[in-house]
Symmetry: C2
Subunit: 244 residues, 2 copies
């Protein structure tokens, strides 16, 4: 049996997965952040991505439901509170809907997910099921793409504010808030997997979970790219931009 | 097909289930609240009941994980926060451990659940699995035994403070806090099932869920009664009181 990696080697290997597979490299993001899309394409992105946003609390609750460790639950529940909000704090899903409002999409239509691409919904539910079913260590590890998110979010805020006259400060609040939240969450999860993944087999399962999650994110952009950018084959029933 | 009950008839039928089957009628509770148990028997109750307490956040997270309704999640998450606490607030499980501390039980032993009766653990996990697997309406309905809890808790606080010199105010904080929390939670869940259970079949499923939950609670006391009261047949490996 091969020797396990040291924790810092595992961290480096996780970061390497991000360097190779995180969806910041997807051409759709280049177009989105470079102001190269039309409003209909940005709408398509926002309403498809809503499926992912709205699934996140379900996958985090699935993780909570699976652990007997109270300390882990007390830490992880911040993610639910960040997304669903609590009391007067409306939370990240609401901030996402402020973005789709700003893009001129009907809220009921967005929330219904009826215009979302099937491939988006399948990718998102694959993520929820992964967290429900895989070992807890892998479920935690699948969140680690958040390590790579802040750079993407900063690029997105700047690029979208500059590139689109229909995007204002209110519409990018979701990303501004995630800049803080994602760092805290990712640090906790990284520390957790570095402590818990002791055997090489566990460490490889952690890396596979991060790759899986990169695939979930990448597949969503593939679906958008193929339906709305080139060759623009929108499946029956999915959102069709009004070309102005 | 028979006509559905009116919402107030459904509520009355739910309350009737409690009147017939809630565990306040179990003889073990009569002994516990009447100061008739010795310290070892009260310890056995507290450490077995810990299994239930510590499972509650997992079953509530399972419910959160299953619903796409953000409003329901934003309401239901209070239950997780009540039990696990958040930040400086330690939560109900911690308050339960203050009770087991006061009873002179080692925390590690309580938390390990090694001394708990198998029947306790099986009943508790049956509840978690019910909430994971049954329709959401039934999962919500299974919480409705909280409608009947405040009377039991008030009786318990008075009875235990009076009946046992080893129980002080600190040890009953869990129950004092639940007096407020259970009312708020139960009102929400009752309102939810009255609105959502529209067909007679759904209403009967709601009543079955409340009966199921009463069984879960009753079975835990049966196990205690048979092991520690009469005929005192403690299974191998389970907690054995030191008879003083």
């Amino acid at each position: 049996m091969s020797a396990p990696m040291k924790p810092e080697q595992l961290e480096a290997a996780i970061r390497q997965v991000g360097a190779e597979r995180y969806h910041d490299k997807h051409p759709f993001h280049g177009l989105l952040h470079g102001g190269k899309l039309d409003k209909g394409q940005v709408q398509a992105w926002a309403l498809n991505r809503y499926c992912y946003q709205s699934a996140v609390p379900r996958k985090d609750a699935a993780l909570l439901s699976r652990t007997h460790e109270r300390g882990l639950r007390r830490e992880w529940i911040h993610r639910l509170l960040d997304h669903d909000g609590l009391g007067g704090e409306e939370g990240g899903i609401e901030r996402w809907l402020i973005l789709t409002d700003a893009l001129g999409l009907e809220r009921d239509y967005v929330v219904s997910m009826q215009g979302a691409l099937p491939a988006t919904r399948f990718a998102v539910e694959a993520y929820v099921n992964f967290v429900r079913e895989r070992p807890l260590l892998e479920a935690v590890a699948s969140s680690l793409t958040e390590l790579f998110a802040p750079t993407l979010h900063r690029e997105r805020i700047g690029g979208m504010l500059e590139g689109y006259d229909f995007i204002g400060e209110g519409a990018v609040q979701y990303f501004r808030r995630r800049l803080e939240q994602a760092n805290r969450d990712a640090d906790f999860a990284l520390d957790y997997v570095k402590r818990q993944a002791k055997t090489l087999q566990e460490q490889e399962a952690v890396l596979a979970a991060v790759r899986f999650k990169c695939d979930v994110l990448w597949a969503q952009l593939d679906a958008l790219h193929h339906a709305y950018v080139v060759p623009a084959l929108v499946p029956p029933g999915a959102f069709r931009p009004q070309r102005s």
